[in-house]
């Protein structure tokens, strides 16, 4: 559950939280956080209760960090995961097809056995398509948040955010005119076997 940061945090505490978040975003996705994170957490614990008031400058900087640093990093990491998964899947498919080409050299019984297992590998590769689609939706959502944050900052007088906001708004108008980003397929994610349900619809 997301909770807003307490309003009485001082600049150092907020900076330490920011470092922790940054460290997590830049972690190697193994779940192991670096020493920087552990140090920052320790500093946070030490500063707890210091009662120092937050300056207006610190308040103003925080939202900028969200749209200029953190959200782009999330998008970058997600795109990297998607790209890596795609490359790995193609490598698996290449190897599978190479093996399939050699099956004729085996006796019929062995050929059938290996072909069956290779088919399982091919079918399992569909994960990349499914995760890729969902990753795209997550990236779209993060970009939507980025756009909204820039809109808020723009209304507060931030020139960089105003420039980005105008650029994205203009790009969206172009995309709408060209028909891009207008996918209108069904949107609910399948979490259980829907095939039988759909088969019934075609039987009636």
């Amino acid at each position: 559950m997301n909770k807003p940061l307490p309003s009485d945090l001082n600049k150092e505490q907020r900076s330490a939280i920011e470092s922790v978040v940054k460290d997590i975003l830049e972690s190697d996705l193994s779940g192991q956080y670096g020493g920087h994170t552990l140090k920052s957490l320790h500093e946070l614990q030490q500063q707890e209760g210091s009662g120092e008031a937050m300056s207006p400058t610190a308040l103003a900087e925080q939202p900028c960090d969200i749209s200029e640093k953190h959200l782009p990093t999330i998008v970058q990491n997600l795109n990297s995961i998607r790209s890596t998964a795609e490359s790995a899947t193609h490598a698996i498919m290449n190897a599978t097809e190479n093996i399939q080409a050699l099956l004729g050299m085996l006796d019929e019984k062995m050929e059938q056995l290996i072909r069956k297992e290779l088919n399982m590998i091919v079918q399992a590769c569909a994960f990349q398509d499914l995760t890729g689609q969902q990753m795209t939706r997550i990236v779209d959502s993060v970009e939507e948040i980025e756009f909204s944050v820039d809109g808020i900052l723009s209304s507060m007088g931030n020139k960089n955010a105003a420039r980005r906001y105008k650029e994205i708004a203009a790009r969206r108008v172009k995309e709408k005119a060209s028909g891009k980003k207008s996918l209108s397929g069904p949107q609910n994610i399948v979490v259980k076997d829907k095939q039988a349900e759909i088969d019934n619809m075609f039987d009636t």
Binding site: T89, H90, M93, T96, A126, D129, K181, S182, G185, I198
Partner: protein, 125 residues
Amino acid sequence: MNTKTPILVVDDYKTMVRIIRNLLVQLGFDDVDDASDGSEALQRMSSKRYGLVISDWNMEPMNGLDFLKAVRAGNGDNTQVPFIMVTAESKQSSVQEAKEAGVNNYIVKPFSADTLRTKIDSVLG
């Protein structure tokens, strides 16, 4: 099932095209073309008669439903081509919409080679 039937696979994910193509080859089909969206598929269909179309729903710029409607509204050789929609997501109203637009069958991803074979059997007879 006539394995000489020319098949057009339409999907913007290259991996899924490869998977479906691979499974079709395993089923014995050797005349398989592909396209990355509805517009490209319509171009291919303007120069070749297909016996089956297997299409994704979520594609850019022309999605699978609009592609299906364009095929059925056309007046060429492919107007009545058997059409199987393949998608990761399903909602009854959307499936119904596809059915009303003239889809012959609908496969939910992820699917097995057996499901693909069964659906092809059902539309090709």
